[in-house]
Symmetry: C2
């Protein structure tokens, strides 16, 4: 456990029996949401901060699980007593999204209508559906208005959607390394990853659980592609460059020659051991579909006319997946609506992954912003 | 047939019975090279230009095959009577490289030692091996010194290698949209493509011919990945953006929603119908291995100390596969050696693919340079 950790944490779960209507027209009749909380809700119930997760993450945002080594939450460097998001001041909630493979109802669970595992029949979920489900959880926790919604990447899209559709329920939106929609290139990478999974003979149309197999080949390739896009060209060059595994070339097309190959294969192998193929498809589709301006003729400024909260946007210079230019599109739309917006473009070498790392300038910006929010609580 | 076409062309073949030693330590005992020529060799045998091909190409560089629609060579827009590389002035030779699936000896052919199809047993070939084989073909054609060696991308690497190892056999090296070696990110993309092919159950360790199958799933994914890296983010955005296939969202993870998905799947399908999986592995490995500075402690300037010819380098601003910065590394190394070098950084939107397209500024630069070479012939 690191110093300033929130310590041992335990996931919680909440069952929902009222159906959740989805954007697709389908509905989830019953579902369960897994979540964790850190810090204390104050008497005014005004210090809650919701953290939304990205592709490969969950409700386990901070702290560790007792008896499990290396079980730090995925944003543990940010959240804890005395950390930039200070749990001495804030009540932090991490929620696992519907369709996930980490606890909340998803394709690995049984469909109450049939008693069979959902598999590929789990309904397509969107960022809006996730946000609606999150709002219901907050209702049950008795939290009317959040101090802030915080997220990076796909999590940032959820934070933006919150600010558009639940403007009265939050005071701040903190969206990091995100975009107002995916570009054609972003969708293209998602599509290749999906094709790798779907065309893996072990996928069985998404009903592989019944066959006792897992489409690991496809998951590996999907993760390798993803990983390339999370890192900057520069950081890959610095970390791996053309380093060979052995002193001499092996002249093989199938064996590992370069360290970067070894690294990517390892990432792919690890991922294929724990991630669900149907979840991967669902989450990449949620990314593809996110496009709040679509209902406003593509006009992002008009889209944000309905927003009310204050915003912090941050992006990273070497992020080529969701480049600073995409964050600036959002900042411009917010400014067009005379909204209160702070924006930090952080010169960090790590590409898209930077939003998960502990960069002093980046964490400094977040610390200052959370202190501003804390000041408003007093 | 376009105006200014070289017209109907026919591939030629040449058999070699002296073994070719390869960088790997293996050798090819016998092999055949396929090639095409356009224009006339002059009496002084001084106007020959060799064109080296990249990943997905062949000896069929210009002209058309009689009776075959849409059979234009892959650089037909550049080469012909009155075109930038004017076949009224030059004798142009296109050679298909060893390991290819388009004619020259490769994994689909029989190993003379066993009588069996090579498949995965075809030896690993390098850029240097290709260049050595090309030099032997020129010997047989009676061409001692080339006016120029020309290539783009992997073809540019061959042109550079020619200039380093056969400095007396050429007067000009024209290397377009190339690099002195692959970056970690370049290798990473190659590796993902290879894993997609190798882990396709239909690959059978590279001996799929005997099973009567083709690892099409892997080839499709490999081609889709490649295609993303050939195009710029911008041109993909302009061409496809977030265009939907239908007016309404279909809410499906497996069906096509966006036009970019349709385009990529189509490219992948087409490729898997004609390209050989073992060739794909061999050619991407040749790319990975190319690194002439390796023998010189990574010092590119020292590497080019052995060069003698004149150079034209060209790169494209939106090429993120082989960015202008990589061409500038070469230009700097050439200038460090006080070599005669021209360099054009062309503001074109098409990414890496730009080297195959007809951009007026790009073709203008090439036309001017070939006129300079033609002037030296007089």
């Amino acid at each position: 456990m690191t110093p300033q950790s929130v310590g041992f944490v335990q996931p919680q779960r909440m069952q929902f029996d009222e159906p959740l209507p989805l954007r697709s027209g389908a509905q989830l009749r019953q579902y369960e949401l897994h979540y964790e909380t850190y810090g204390q809700l104050n008497a005014e119930r005004s210090n809650a901060i919701l953290v939304c997760h990205a592709l490969n993450a969950s409700h386990h945002v901070a702290g560790v699980y007792e008896g499990q080594e290396k079980s730090e939450g995925w944003w543990d460097n940010l959240i804890g007593p005395g950390k930039p998001l200070d749990t001495n001041q804030f009540f932090v909630i991490g929620i696992n999204n519907l369709g996930s493979c980490f606890g909340s109802t998803g394709p690995m669970h049984a469909n109450p209508a049939t008693g069979q595992v959902y598999g590929a029949d789990f309904p397509v979920v969107t960022v809006q559906d996730w946000v609606d489900a999150q709002a219901r959880l907050l209702d049950r926790l008795g939290i009317g208005q959040l101090a802030a919604v915080l997220g990076g990447s796909l999590g940032g899209m959820q934070a933006l959607d919150w600010s558009l559709r639940y403007p009265e329920r939050m005071r701040h939106c903190i969206a990091i390394a995100t975009a107002p929609s995916l570009s054609a290139q972003n969708i293209a990478f998602n599509e290749v990853a999906r094709r790798a999974i779907i065309t893996d003979p072990d996928f069985h149309g998404g009903h592989f659980y019944a066959h006792g197999v897992v489409p690991k080949r496809g998951l590996r390739v999907a993760r390798m592609i993803g990983h390339i896009t999370y890192l900057s060209d520069d950081v890959m060059e610095q970390k791996f460059g053309r380093q060979m595994r052995a002193a001499e070339l092996g002249y093989s097309t199938q064996d590992i020659e370069f360290q970067i190959e070894s690294y990517l294969r390892h990432q792919g192998d690890k991922f294929s051991e724990y991630f669900d193929a149907n979840t991967y498809l669902l989450i990449t589709r949620a990314l593809d579909y996110f496009d709040p301006a679509r209902e406003h003729g593509g006009d992002l400024s008009r889209t944000f006319a309905q927003a009310r909260c204050k915003y912090l946007l941050a992006s990273f210079t070497t992020d080529w997946r969701f480049s600073p230019a995409r964050s600036r599109e959002i900042v411009k739309a917010l400014l067009d609506n005379k909204l209160d917006v702070s924006y930090a473009e952080i010169d960090a070498p790590h590409g898209h992954d930077a939003f998960l790392l502990e960069d002093p300038r980046y964490h400094g910006v977040l610390r200052a912003y959370f202190q501003r929010i804390a000041g408003e609580l007093a």
